[in-house]
């Protein structure tokens, strides 16, 4: 099997803290591999190890068949860390040229590809703007161009959409899907459920340094999420009371901010009952709806916590 990335029982400790706990995974060429998890789940540590910028404490890692810290394979990899990669005193274009030179990209190729990407995102006005003057979202877009311009075989993107508006997010997800069709392998870390679902790749759900489940989006939902989810919005002062009341009638009641997500096999029966019980107890409800389950519900079911917590 043509595995681009292969990890076996990889762990990483930081001063005794286990940031990565026996992680094993394998990614094939052309695959989109999404790592979904809350902040601190270990996504960045995992990506740093695969990109070759961090050494694991134990376990076995191979990327393109060799140790990822070997620079010989780095021309095939392009990594976008979650931190900034731009030099503030350089313009967007100068930053792109700087990294492209390190990858040995020819000037005409660089010009052609950068024009394509600037046009695609519609940000030609940012070409000659100093990086220090760019907003977080704009910096992210330039960093994405830097990552993609070298046309790598393996693209590793750690939270690439942070600070971007929905339109730009969509464009990035579309582009990633397109690159995957062109046989690029993509690793994508996010804590946003929609992104993980829209990319339509294989999803690994991470929590506390472990990959707790892995599979296709529908497969995960089918295995771990209920048929429906009742969402009840209330006010901050009632949320704990509402949660306690509903837990008498259902095991899978989850609180996310001022929202209660109740996993239900029969929402038409359950919803009126829950509303009645809450009203009787004096809990004020602002809205109620029945949703299809998402990967967030898979995460809730498996960890008892929300991704946004």
């Amino acid at each position: 099997m043509d595995y681009i990335v292969l990890l076996d029982k990889v762990s990483k400790y930081y001063n005794g803290f286990k940031a990565l706990d026996d992680v094993s995974l394998s990614i094939k060429r052309g695959e989109i591999y999404v790592v979904l998890g809350p902040n601190g789940a270990g996504k960045t540590t995992l990506f740093n190890i695969i990109a070759g910028v961090l050494k694991p404490s134990s376990g076995f890692v191979k990327v393109f068949g060799v140790d990822p810290s070997d620079p010989k394979i780095h021309h095939k990899i392009s990594y976008l860390p979650s931190t900034s990669i731009l030099y503030p005193w350089l313009t967007s274009m100068e930053n792109i040229e700087y990294y492209a030179s390190i990858y040995g990209l020819e000037k005409d190729v660089l010009k052609e590809r950068s024009s394509e990407l600037f046009d695609y995102f519609g940000i030609n006005d940012l070409k000659f703007k100093l990086a220090s003057k760019l907003s977080t979202g704009q910096s992210k877009l330039i960093s994405i161009i830097i990552t993609l311009i070298v046309k790598p075989e393996l693209i590793i993107l750690d939270e690439p959409t942070t600070g971007l508006d929905p339109n730009m997010r969509r464009k990035i997800l579309d582009l990633i899907r397109k690159l995957s069709i062109e046989n690029a392998t993509v690793m994508f870390a996010t804590h946003i459920v929609n992104e993980a679902e829209e990319l339509m790749g294989r999803v690994a759900i991470m929590d506390r340094g472990k990959i707790i489940v892995e599979g296709g989006v529908e497969e995960l939902k089918k295995s771990y999420a209920p048929p429906s989810v009742i969402t009840i919005k209330t006010f901050e002062e009632y949320i704990d009371k509402a949660s306690t009341i509903l837990k008498h009638y259902c095991n899978d009641v989850f609180t996310i901010n001022d929202e209660l997500r109740i996993h239900s096999n029969d929402p038409d029966m359950d919803m009126p009952k829950y509303i009645l019980k809450l009203s009787e107890s004096g809990v004020k409800i602002s809205s109620v709806k029945i949703d299809n389950p998402t990967l967030e519900d898979v995460f809730l079911k498996l960890t008892g916590r929300g991704l946004r917590e």
Partner: protein
């Protein structure tokens, strides 16, 4: 290592200096201010030779009414000139206490006490006169200078008196014995004849050359504080900016990254050196610097300058081992750089330093490169005399570079493990 990558690093670094004004200040404006200070403060336009004016206090106890007495001696002191400038500013005092107070306060450089009957004793061929001199010290350097000047003046005066006395005695000796009597008497009163002469290198005879000498010092200073600072922050600033992770994931090897970055740090320093020299030799400053690119020995001085830059960046790497943050490393680099440029003979002559501090100059390799570059430009010594120094500088550059690369590699390695 690909040239393209080095060029990318250099371009990135130069643009940084161009766009971050504070760096431009340290690299260009500060040395320029220093050179201007050299030209107009340390070596003012009136300077043709090293010149000093001493404040001398005089107490005259002499009441003699002889043709030459205490008053005429004071008049002579007032009129002594060197290169058209009077050496002494004379203030007369009534009491020793008052004059000594002023010596202690640094108002006076020296006090001369003319004894009672000074005039009579001068004319008495069988007696001697004792002039008391107290030397003060406005600065540690002036004590020695004052003592030398006053000793020379009084010795000269004494010789003059002896000569007059010999003439006077000879007038009582019959003509046929005068020739041999003169020789005997002269040798009796002047058992040791001394003449003070100065053989100064050409560089110290002209103001333009003195500024040239200081210009090399300014380059040394620039290397020390910018080299130390940039060398110490090389990895940590990439880390704090977030760019280190990205660079480590690129096809660059750790060695390529380190060497490329070190070269990129060195280039602005060398550009600044060239600009500094150009400004220094411009008519505004008027420094005289001898550099002939066809002269191999001058090329050697340029190589030593490059070695100095590389060594200071390498020492910056050693500083980075102690400093934890970019700000800490940068501050430590600038402070240490300035401190060492003042104490290792780069800016001030090493002879001005106390003996224990002079050891620093002897063990501090960047000071060697500046010292030898200066020697080449000032004295143009023959090749063979530079052989040992060349070996010393090249070897220490290689050793320091190796240490720096090892430290940087270990730092990167550490980053990959934590």
């Amino acid at each position: 290592m690909k040239l393209k990558t080095i060029i990318a690093f250099i371009k990135c670094e130069i643009k940084r200096y161009y766009r971050e004004k504070i760096l431009l200040f340290w690299l260009l404006i500060w040395p320029l201010i220093w050179i201007l200070m050299t030209a107009y403060v340390f070596v003012p336009p009136t300077t043709t030779n090293q010149f000093i004016n001493l404040n001398i206090g005089v107490i005259n106890y002499d009441k003699s009414n002889t043709p030459f007495n205490g008053t005429t001696f004071i008049k002579i002191l007032r009129e002594i000139e060197y290169n058209g400038t009077r050496i002494f500013s004379i203030s007369e005092y009534k009491t020793v206490e008052e004059a000594v107070q002023n010596l202690k306060r640094g108002i006076l450089d020296a006090l001369i006490i003319i004894p009672e009957d000074f005039g009579f004793e001068i004319f008495n061929v069988i007696s001697s006169v004792e002039i008391k001199v107290y030397v003060g010290a406005k600065t540690p350097q002036t004590k020695q200078i004052t003592e030398t000047i006053i000793t020379s003046v009084i010795r000269g005066f004494s010789e003059e008196i002896s000569s007059e006395r010999v003439k006077y005695i000879l007038s009582y000796i019959p003509e046929e014995y005068r020739y041999w009597s003169k020789i005997v008497l002269k040798n009796l009163v002047n058992p040791v004849n001394m003449s003070i002469g100065y053989i100064l290198p050409e560089v110290f005879q002209e103001r333009s050359r003195i500024i040239g000498w200081y210009t090399i010092g300014a380059i040394g200073m620039l290397f020390l504080y910018t080299g130390f600072s940039s060398g110490s922050t090389m990895i940590i600033s990439e880390k704090e900016r977030g760019t280190l992770k990205k660079l480590l994931s690129t096809p660059l090897t750790a060695s390529e990254f380190i060497i490329g970055r070190m070269i990129s740090l060195m280039i602005p320093m060398l550009i600044s050196t060239i600009i500094l020299i150009l400004i220094s030799i411009s008519p505004i400053i008027g420094a005289h610097i001898t550099f002939n690119p066809t002269n191999p020995i001058h090329i050697l001085s340029a190589i030593f300058i490059v070695c100095g830059a590389l060594m200071s960046i390498s020492i910056g790497a050693i500083i980075s081992m102690i400093a934890k943050t970019r700000e800490g490393a940068s501050s430590m680099g600038v402070i240490l750089g300035l401190l060492l440029s003042f104490t290792t003979g780069i800016w001030f002559p090493i002879e001005w330093m106390p003996q224990p501090i002079r050891i620093l100059a002897k063990i501090f390799p960047p000071a060697w490169s500046i010292e030898i570059s200066r020697r080449i430009i000032v004295f143009e010594p023959p090749y063979e005399t530079l052989l040992i120094d060349t070996i010393k500088i090249i070897t220490s550059t290689i050793i320091l570079l190796t240490i720096a690369i090892t430290i940087y590699k270990k730092t990167i390695q550490k980053q990959m493990e934590i």
